[in-house]
Each structure stands twice: as C-alpha cells, then as structure tokens.
Symmetry: D2
C-alpha cells in the first residue's frame, strides 16, 4: 500500500465478460494489477470485486484513469469506488470506560498496521482522557447522561463534521446510537460487540453467555445500522471456555476476542476489503 496506486471496489449485476472488461481496461492503460479479488453471488447473481492497481506506469494521469472508468462502470450498471494510495483514513474513536479496544487501535495505528489518522477520541466518560493525552490525540468529553443524551449526539456529529471524520469506531462505546445517526453514517460506523452475534444481542452478553453455559465465547466486529447489533458482520473471533469460568473470567478472556476482531475489522475496512451487500458484508481478507 506504500507505493502510488489505486484501489477499486465494485459491485454490479453478474454479466458475461465482466472480468475481461475490467482487467482489459486496467491493462489497456498499463495499470499493474496487484490483486484482483472477485466473487459472484450465485444466489443474488451479483458480482463483487476489489482491485489493487499500481499506477507507476499508467499511460494517463490517475484522475484521468478514474474518470475514464466511468463509461465502463455505467455500461455494467455498477456501483464503484476508487481510492488513491497511499492513504490514511480520518478516524474518530468513541469510548466509554474500558480502554482495551482503544489501546489496541492506537498501538496498531502507531506500528503501521492500520492506515488511519486518529482525529480525536470522544468519550461519554472521562476515563480514557489520559490515554488520549499520552498519545497526543484530542479528547472530547461529551456528557450524555439522562436528558443530555440527544444534545450529546448532536455534539458528536458536529465534531465528526468539523474533523472531517471518514470512519467512526465504537470501541466499547456504551450508548445506543439514534437511528438517524446510523443512517447518515451508514457504512462508516464500525462497532465491536462483545458476543458471537447473533447470539446475545443487547446488554451484558458475557453474563448471558455464562447463564446459557456456552462452551465458546466470541466477539463480533460489524457495521452499525439502525437495527441494533444486526448490521453486516466484518469479523468474528471465538475463545473456548469451561464451566469454571465465571462472568468476570468471560470478560477477561473475551477481551482477547474483542481486540483482535475489531483490529482486523478496521483494517479490512480502511483497506477497502469490505463491500456491504444488504445485511451481509463481502470481506476479502489479507
């Protein structure tokens, strides 16, 4: 991802010759195809693809290349998106008290695993202010208790707008987002749910898991939609547990799942490895 290049994400109705057309367009302008992941959904008859293209040898300017693709894209009735590389996605992290997911994101961003620029950390509790400070990232405390909830969400939306945030990550943010928030940021909101969805939707999933006596616990990284905990799943992790694990043990062990699933999910998103398709997410992992 370090060299100049483009990522193209595309979906369209399945049709003859589609791979040939796209690959020929790229090759015709001397783009170097690094990856061309595709998938044809045989049930919905839709085609999905992600291309990674080195543009060092292009015979036109990248903007021209992108522009020219439009004719082909429209002829295939496609939806598509280009991203120029290298790229860092402007990302806000929303938190409440627990910091393990936040720490994970900060550390992975720092070592270069996540190409994100953390614009700010937004908390409805003050707990994570210190971490933000040590990382040199602005921290916004938003009071959302009781009747300040609605004003709080308005303020958050202002911050996201002011900071030109492209991705908001709910890193154990313990507030249910208003429907209009979810709709307006559709596809740009990622949550980590501390259960193996769709099991244990809602509050206290580890307690629910303990009471149900499951033998594996998990965590789910998903896009947020207005339908609580029902958005498209990006990644899931599980860990084996036994009867002697009390709810607080599940919390402890589950943190491992949460951190890994969230970090992988964010990476897939910022690398444009996900395509949302209704209730599902197509994910081309790396």
């Amino acid at each position: 991802m370090a060299r100049p290049g483009l990522i193209l994400k595309l979906s369209c109705p399945d049709q003859p010759g589609i791979v040939a057309k796209i690959a020929s367009y790229v090759a015709g302008h001397r783009g170097n195809l690094i990856e061309f992941a595709q998938f044809t959904d045989k049930l919905s008859l839709r085609f999905f693809a992600r291309l990674e293209i080195e543009t060092g040898e292009l015979d036109v300017d990248p903007e021209d290349f992108i522009e020219g693709f439009g004719t082909l894209g429209r002829s295939m009735k496609a939806q598509w998106h280009f991203r120029r590389l290298p790229y860092k996605m402007r990302t806000a992290v929303l938190v409440t008290k627990t910091d393990h997911c936040l720490n994970e994101i900060l550390w992975r961003a720092e070592i270069g695993e996540l190409p994100v620029e953390i614009t700010s950390i937004i908390g409805n509790r003050d707990t994570c202010r210190g971490i933000a400070g040590r990382a040199g990232i602005p921290f916004h405390l938003i009071d959302m208790d009781g009747d300040k909830r609605s004003a709080g969400f308005t303020r958050i939306r202002e911050i996201l707008a002011e900071e030109k945030v492209e991705l908001a990550v709910l890193a154990r943010f313990m507030q249910i987002l208003p429907d209009d928030f979810c709709r307006d940021f559709e596809g740009r909101l990622i949550n980590i749910h501390h259960s193996f969805l769709p099991a244990f939707i809602g509050a206290n999933p580890y307690k629910q898991a303990y009471e149900r006596g499951v033998k594996l616990i998990g965590a789910t990284c998903h896009y947020v939609t207005a339908d609580l905990d029902a958005g498209p799943i990006i990644e899931q992790e599980v860990e084996r547990v036994q009867h002697f694990h009390a709810p607080n043990d599940l919390v402890r062990l589950g943190r491992n799942c949460e951190r890994i699933a969230l970090a992988k999910g964010i990476r897939y998103h910022v690398h444009d490895r996900t395509i949302i398709d209704g209730h599902r997410a197509i994910v081309f992992p790396d």
Copy 2:
C-alpha cells in the same frame, strides 16, 4: 475405564471440608483415586465433583462401598450417582435422512471411543436402514407424518422401554419432541443442533447463518429439554467461513462441527463427565 472401578458424580451445597471428607472415605476403604475433578460455583455456592476410583484393592465389596457412602452423602445434602466400570451404556440413535452423525457414532463405538451398546436405530424415514443393516443393528421405521406423529412418539417410547435404553441420541432427527417425552427422559436425551447456539434456534440454521453473514459457523451438542434448543450445552465446535460459502457449503463444512461436537458430547455423557445444573452443564472434559 477397562479395569474394575467406580465413577462417582456428586453435587451438593458448598461446605467446609468437603474434599477431605470424600477423599478420606475413598482412601479409608483403600480405593485408588484415579481422577478427582471438582468445581465450586462461587455464584450459586454449589460444589460439583466427579471421581474415578479403582476398586481392585477395596477392603469391602464395591456394593458395600457404594452403600456406605450414603451416610456421608446425606450428611452433605448431596445428590450423587455411582457407576460400576467397565460399562457400556445402552443407547438408541434417532435419525431422519442424513447419516453423517449416525455414521460417526457407529464408527466411534466400533473402535472403542464410545462405550455404548447401540440397541437400535429409530428413523422416521427409511434412509438409514442400510447402514443399520451393515452394522448389524435393528432398525425401526416409525411413520410420524401428519396425524401419525403422536402415535409415532408413543411407539418410540415403547421401543426405548422394551430395549431398556439409557440414552437416546437425536442424530439429526428432524422432529420436535413432545414436552412430556423431554421431561420423562430428562438428562438422557442428547441432541446435535447444527448451529452455534443460542444463535439460529429453530429450522434451517445454515440458511439463517448465510443470510446473517456470519464469519464462523458451528454446532452445539446439548441435553434436550422441553424448551426447544435451550437445554444445557455439552460441547460446541466452530469453523471459519467466508462470504463465498453458499448455504450448501455451510451444510458441508458444518457437518465437520456436528460430528465432532456430538461425538465428544456423547463421550462426556457416557463417561459421566457431565453434571446438569439448571440451564448449564458442568463438563469435565478428557
């Protein structure tokens, strides 16, 4: 398990000196403690244990040893159960069409992994008759379609009684059991559900999993209770899947989970490694 011995399963309110009392009783009669698995539930304050005792050196007859334990057991307000080894549990397998779980059980019984004696195979379809025949096991075809359902279950209960069945395994038996059946055979009915419970309760779990876009599928081996798919979980297995797996791929991959989870679950049960505790099962795996 091949040598003469006893398995003791026990549960009681937690209380001081409980391990000392039980172990002293065993040692006092020269029982050789092979395994003494215990667990104290710190939430319910109940104690659970499973002991495996070699009895070759006992200073009394094993029946006398069992009898004598009663005084101690009652003083601790315990529920307990002894089983004499070696032992083969009389087991009936209920099937419909698919045979992978049945085959798994037969093969594991044959190589000695499952100490069961298969009394008969009971099917509401004729599909598995050939397998039963090749294994030299009686096959009962029970017509349960439409209004014959109730009579069918009556007939199944007769067979279980006639054949002195101790354990009935629902090996992808596609019929919902009547409540009284579940109650009467409580703790002696094991099912394999082809999802990672409590996700995807009910019919067509693989189709549900596909539509939800999960990244891991699973199978759950559990005791059957009147509350559908909500009985105590014995074992669970998962397998990673991706967007390109169509529902029939999930069926194919899920079979691996179903076979392993069911086989392990049955083994734990017949080796007395499970103790049902309300909605949960304590399981001491081997």
Copy 3:
C-alpha cells in the same frame, strides 16, 4: 461441478495484462467464468490462477477451446492444465491397520463430497479388508514385511497402472515409499501425517508431542516427495490438548484432525484447487 464445464489451472511468470488476456480469451468464446482465483507471488514474481468455466454457451467445442488456449498459454510461457467437468478422479487408498482415514474417504465419496472413484484399497495388512468388502471395493493385500518390501512396491505400482489410478492416498499407510515411486507419482500422491508439520517428523509423532509437552496437536495433509514428510502442505488442523492427555489421548483426539485435514486436502486436489510451487502448495480453498 455438476454442469458441463472446465477447470483451468495455470502458472507463469508475472507479466502485464495477464488477467485481461486470460479473461478475454474465455469471454471471447462465450465461456461463463464461475470462479477466477489468482495469486501473484511478489517474491518469486510468478502468477498462479484457477478458473472454473461453464461451457454451455461456448461458441466452439470444448476441445477446440482447450486447443486454442495453447497459443495464449505458450505466449505467456505458462504451464497449464484443463479438466473437463463433471469428473471423478480414479483414486486408490493405501492403508495399514488403522481405518479412520479410510472410513472418512469412503463416507465422503459416498455422499458426494469427494468426486472420486475408488478403484481399490491396497493394504500391507489385512485389517481393512472387511471395510472394503462392505463398500464393494476391491482389496489388495500386499505383503511388504522384511525382504518383500521391494517386491511389494513393484506390485503396488502394477496395480496403480492396471487400474489407471490418477491419485494415490496414503491413509495412514505405515511404509516409507521408495524415492523413485515418489518421483514418478509426484503431485499424485497425498499423505496424512499425524502431526503439525514440520514438528515431529518421522515415527510416533503423538508420543513425541506428549514428551515435548505441546499444548496443541495437529495433522498435516501434504503431497509426498522423496524427502520424508517435507512435501508441499495442502491442509493442517490442530486441536488443543493439556498435560492430562496421555499419548493414547493424543491419538484419539488427533484422529479428528487427521480425518478433517485429509478429507479437505483430497477435496482441494481433486477439485484442482492446488498448484504445487516448489516446496509449497498454492491452495484456493472452497
């Protein structure tokens, strides 16, 4: 795989426009691309691909389509292979005493998971004759003890030739193959090793694993080369173990890994999802 079609496997030096060229050839003759999995090895600069093509609408005879591809293939300095679908690969299974891998293959072939035709079962012990008989498959007992080893392998090669065997599976066949055998059948010999290779090469891997005190055991399905247990790996499975698992417990638990890894490995091979690349195998899983 049920409809008429073709699978194309190909590898060649990486070069510009390669995906466009191949896809255009297919589309130009009205082949319907069902799957086009590719991989460019950035270290060796080689390109690998597997295409699945429906041929119902081809504008030429499939043989003509295959013939015509040669010009393109040679221009890319590629190695390639076409297979016409539907297809059943003629497969011999070599065994010694243990039958779990053999049973797995037979069962999966029967339910249609493995598109193989089992030509015969070859054993250097008589143990699996009964299984072969029940499945209606010829069984060859080959005495390989002591000085009969060399003659035994000669006889096995005769059988493979007579029965036009395309794939030989070593399903816990406890004999080391002569070098010339490995060379002559390169890429057509699949073995299951009962450890997580490259750990525990050679004899008694479960005993080695026990003594080393590993916390996970495994099994490895790989192509056989003259270099013992060093051939290209197709699939691996692991299972968690603990200190209380004696070597015979590892044998028991390991069987689960062996069966799954071998069955998946064979499936990948017969579906042309593997491409051998020196010591490694490119595998496009399904």
Copy 4:
C-alpha cells in the same frame, strides 16, 4: 486472589490417600479450599496439585499452617511451595526492538490481569525507552553488541539481583542467553518464541514458515532452559494463514499469537498454575 489466602503447589510420587491427606490437613485447620486441581501422571506415577486456600478462618497463623504442612509434605516425599496472597511478582521485561509483547504486558499489568510489579525494562536497543518512560518504569540500556555481550549479561544479572527480580520475561529479546544464566534462573525465565514449537526453532521462524508453506502459524510461550527453544511449553496459539500471506504478513498475524500466548503464559506462572516436570509443564489454566 484479592482476599488473604495461600496457593500451594506440590508434586510427589503417586501414593494411596494423597488427596485425602492434603485436603484433611487444610480442612483440619479450617482452611477454605477454593480450588484443588490435581493430576496424576499415569506414565511417571507422579502426582501434581495446586490448591488455592482462603485463610480468613484458619485456626492458626498462616505461617504456622505453612510450617505444619512440612511434616505431611516430607512424609509424602513431596516438593512443595506456598505463596501468600495477595501477591505481586517482581518482574523484569527484556526487549530488543519490537514492542508489541512489552506493550501487552504493561497494559495487562495496568488493568489488573497480571499481578506483577514491573521492576524495570532492560533493552539491548534503545527503542523501547519511550514506552518505559510513559509507563513510569526504569529503563536500562545494555550494550551487548560484539564483544560486549558477556559483560552485558553480567550487567543484566546484577540488575536482576539489585531489583530482587523473581521473574524475567524475554519479550522478543533477540539474544541467546548463556547456559549458566539459564541454569541459575531456571523456572523464573519465560520466553515467547514466534513459532509453533518445536517447528521452526532458531532464527527467522516466520520466514521458515513461509518457505515451508504451512497453513497455520503460531507462537509458543515457554520456560527457558540451556537447550535453545526446548524448554517446557506453557502456552501456544495458532492462526490460520494462506499462500498469499508473504513473510511480513506472517509477522503481522503472528503478533496476535505472540501477545496472547505470552500474556496467558505469564498469568499462569504468576498465579502458580504451572509446575515444571522435566521437559514438560503441567498447567492448570484459568
């Protein structure tokens, strides 16, 4: 672990009545047995146990209780160890350049998952000085290049002695320890090896894994002995990989395994959940 209590670790030759004797001693002095994990190795005929005892109701002083146990322990020819709770183990972390394992330990110590007191961080490179500073932990830079290696280890041993270090963790410390160091700190030195041992001993395990084409990579947390990478294994983790993962992808994915395996391994050690038995470690996980 927060309440006053004791952990007792013990091993001895297997013998009749051993559980009864130990449990009776505890109960006889009104110790409350929270956990009593045991294991009898049927091959070596040795008995291993870990007891967690609440001492709030003891009829004697804990020191007296410990003292009194000696008579019993000696009669059983046991080796044993008591630890008084609550307890924080004085721990030094040795690093070179990479910081993911160090970060993991610091974070887990901070949230209370690891009951350790980090005495200092010792590096043969300066890279982790900043992290140490932010965490308020002393950092020692030890030059070990070329002919300064021997003096470097002498200095490290001085630091460990001055700081009364009980546990030294090699958190991706890229230096091979001298034999006498390993011997003198036997059982108090924990390493994380970035492969699934015993596969890929020595340098560059991810590169080795790539070249061998494995389908799962792993990490191993183990006690350090003079025999490189051959010490008793405490914990192992694996992650599935495919042909398209280049060596640097394995490094990235492997970090997840390394962090989890090391953190669990340290936790088991400081909670006295491990007993070294020759080349193996008995581990009672939580």
